[in-house]
């Protein structure tokens, strides 16, 4: 009887290390993105987020470890055929129009979507009117939206987006958020780098926090923003009961009163993703 073949993960890295001369950018990272999963990668500047995604899309060679896209070695043609990628820093040739950029990428990714696909993609990133505008004549945010449309050419199964909203205004960010939700509904898998915690919290199924080349926290946004305890203010001072939740508050107050304490206040502590993040990375900026 044949074994059922396990579905390969959309993206997986194991014990990934990268050294740039004296700088150890990644120190053994394990991370995976399952089918139809949206994973957010957070971390301070210089944590190694871009290095990680560049290895995943084959732009950078890992010093050690393994990276695979849909079961194929990262950087191989089989892997690249499944990928759409938006680089952190990129530029399209200034003399190409938006439509020509997409046409070029259609040819290179063997997409047979033709003019209909290009029109559809430009509409999705609100560039329908700029179809024949040269890249040179586009604002930074418009170029970033064109970059997102480019990443979607050929409806890839796996999307890797490195700070797709860094140059976008609030309306542009919303467009991207809606797009990401649509992509997940369509069954695409996404690895998303961002500094915008609120954005990650809203769209991601899972979050990994990277710090100095290591994953320091991972889980769903809910898991990462769980209750952190109950704070009790009594005549003895302020005491925090770690691990306690909202349901424990009444019992804790009763216990304190029974023990002869005077209770002045009680507060259920919940941490937001932001607090978890700041706790995980410290005050590190770079």
């Amino acid at each position: 009887m044949p074994y059922p073949r396990p579905m390969p993960q959309a993206l997986a890295v194991h014990a990934l290390e990268k050294r740039y001369g004296p700088v150890q950018a990644l120190k053994g990272v394990d991370l995976s993105v399952e089918e139809s999963e949206l994973v957010g990668l957070l971390g301070p500047n210089g944590a190694g987020k871009s290095t990680l995604v560049k290895i995943a899309v084959g732009l950078v060679r890992a010093s050690r470890g393994r990276a695979e896209v849909v079961g194929a070695r990262a950087g191989s043609r089989a892997a690249l055929a499944e990928l759409g990628y938006l680089a952190e820093l990129f530029r399209f040739p200034g003399w190409y129009t938006a439509d020509e950029v997409l046409a070029l990428h259609q040819r290179l990714s063997h997409s047979d979507g033709g003019a209909a696909e290009r029109k559809h993609l430009l509409e999705r990133v609100a560039l329908a009117d700029a179809r024949n505008r040269r890249v040179d004549g586009m604002s930074k945010g418009m170029q970033q939206r064109l970059g997102i449309a480019q990443a979607l050419v050929g409806s890839p199964r796996v999307l890797v987006l490195d700070e797709p909203t860094s140059a976008l205004d609030p309306a542009g960010r919303r467009i991207v958020r809606v797009l990401l939700e649509e992509l997940r509904d369509r069954g695409a898998s996404v690895l998303l780098n961002s500094h915008l915690l609120s954005e990650i919290e809203l769209v991601c199924d899972r979050v990994a926090i990277l710090r100095a080349g290591e994953v320091v926290a991972a889980g769903s946004p809910d898991e990462l923003s769980q209750p952190r305890g109950v704070e009790l203010e009594t005549d003895e001072g302020v005491r925090t009961v770690e691990g306690a939740a909202r349901e424990d508050a009444a019992r804790l107050v009763a216990e304190a009163v029974a023990a002869g304490r005077r209770v002045y206040g009680v507060r259920v502590l919940t941490s937001t993703l932001e607090e978890t993040y700041l706790e995980a990375v410290g005050d590190e900026v770079s």
């Binding site: 990628y85 680089a87 040819r107 290179l108 990714s109 970059g147």
Partner: protein
């Protein structure tokens, strides 16, 4: 195949936009106009030219071969300028600007990408070199009624020399920034020319050391040797003229020549391209 055409077309369009062709066409037109004038004056005053008495050659052949030699030097130079400007930033330059990354992540393959850029530049430069060389030969034919004993081979050797420069420039673009690469390739080109001159001086002084150094340089930088071999061919059947022309110049003498250097050049080209493909496959972008 379609990916090769797409990438080559992409490079071609970039060159058009950067006005590489406009500059080269302008310079070429200027050169050809001057060259036509030179031919006009030289051949209308042919009777006043007297080659050195110890050279057994008629003035028409002497003037024609000499002018074509000059034209070949100019063609090589312009061809190298074109080659360098088409390729100096193919990897580092484009990667620094962020142009390369979106292309590399497409399922084309890095080797196909690089070879497409190489083939695109080579096609443009071969057409260019053969056209300029052909026009120069035609000008001499029309103005002076002289054609070299071998018409095609010298042109092919010139084109081959330029293709080698393209391979070196692409290899350099992987290791160096655009500016550094441009400087490096022009320095190599200059070194090749100097080596040719050195050989001439070595012969004049009868210095074996200098001749030896010049030979090593010719093998190390075979585009120069190919050009020298082309010079040798345009005067190959003029009795007595060969030695004279090759010793006088215009720019050195073909002390390394024939099938040896042609085969060596082909191998050199293959190795340079293979090295570039290998280096690119390992390059972080």
């Amino acid at each position: 195949m379609s990916a090769v055409l797409t990438i080559a077309g992409y490079g071609f369009r970039e060159a058009v936009r950067r006005k590489v062709f406009a500059v080269v066409v302008l310079l070429t037109a200027l050169f050809l106009a001057l060259f036509w004038l030179a031919n006009h004056f030289v051949f209308t005053r042919l009777s006043t030219i007297s080659p050195p008495t110890d050279v057994n050659v008629d003035t028409r052949t002497f003037a024609g071969a000499f002018l074509l030699g000059l034209a070949m030097f100019a063609t090589l130079f312009l061809g190298v300028v074109l080659a360098v400007f088409l390729t100096l930033g193919v990897v580092s330059g484009d990667a620094e600007r962020g142009l390369l990354q979106p292309l590399v992540v497409r399922p084309v393959g890095r080797s196909t990408l690089l070879l497409s850029r190489f083939l695109g530049a080579a096609a443009v430069c071969i057409v260019y070199v053969l056209a300029v060389y052909g026009i120069a030969v035609a000008i001499i034919d029309v103005a002076g009624h002289w054609t070299p004993p071998s018409v095609l081979a010298p042109g092919v050797e010139l084109a081959g020399g330029v293709v080698i420069v393209i391979a070196l420039s692409i290899l350099g673009s992987i290791l160096l920034s655009s500016t550094a690469n441009g400087i490096a390739v022009f320095m190599l080109f200059g070194a090749g020319l100097t080596a040719g001159l050195l050989g001439t001086i070595g012969h004049a002084l009868n210095s074996h050391e200098i001749q030896h150094a010049s030979k090593i340089a010719a093998w190390a930088l075979p585009f120069e040797a190919l050009y020298q071999d082309g010079l040798r061919l345009i005067s190959s059947n003029a009795h007595g003229l060969t030695g004279f022309l090759l010793q006088l110049g215009p720019f050195g003498g073909a002390y390394v020549h024939g099938w040896g250097i042609r085969v060596w050049s082909a191998g050199y080209l293959v190795v340079a391209v293979a090295l570039a493909v290998f280096a690119f496959s390992r390059r972080d972008l």
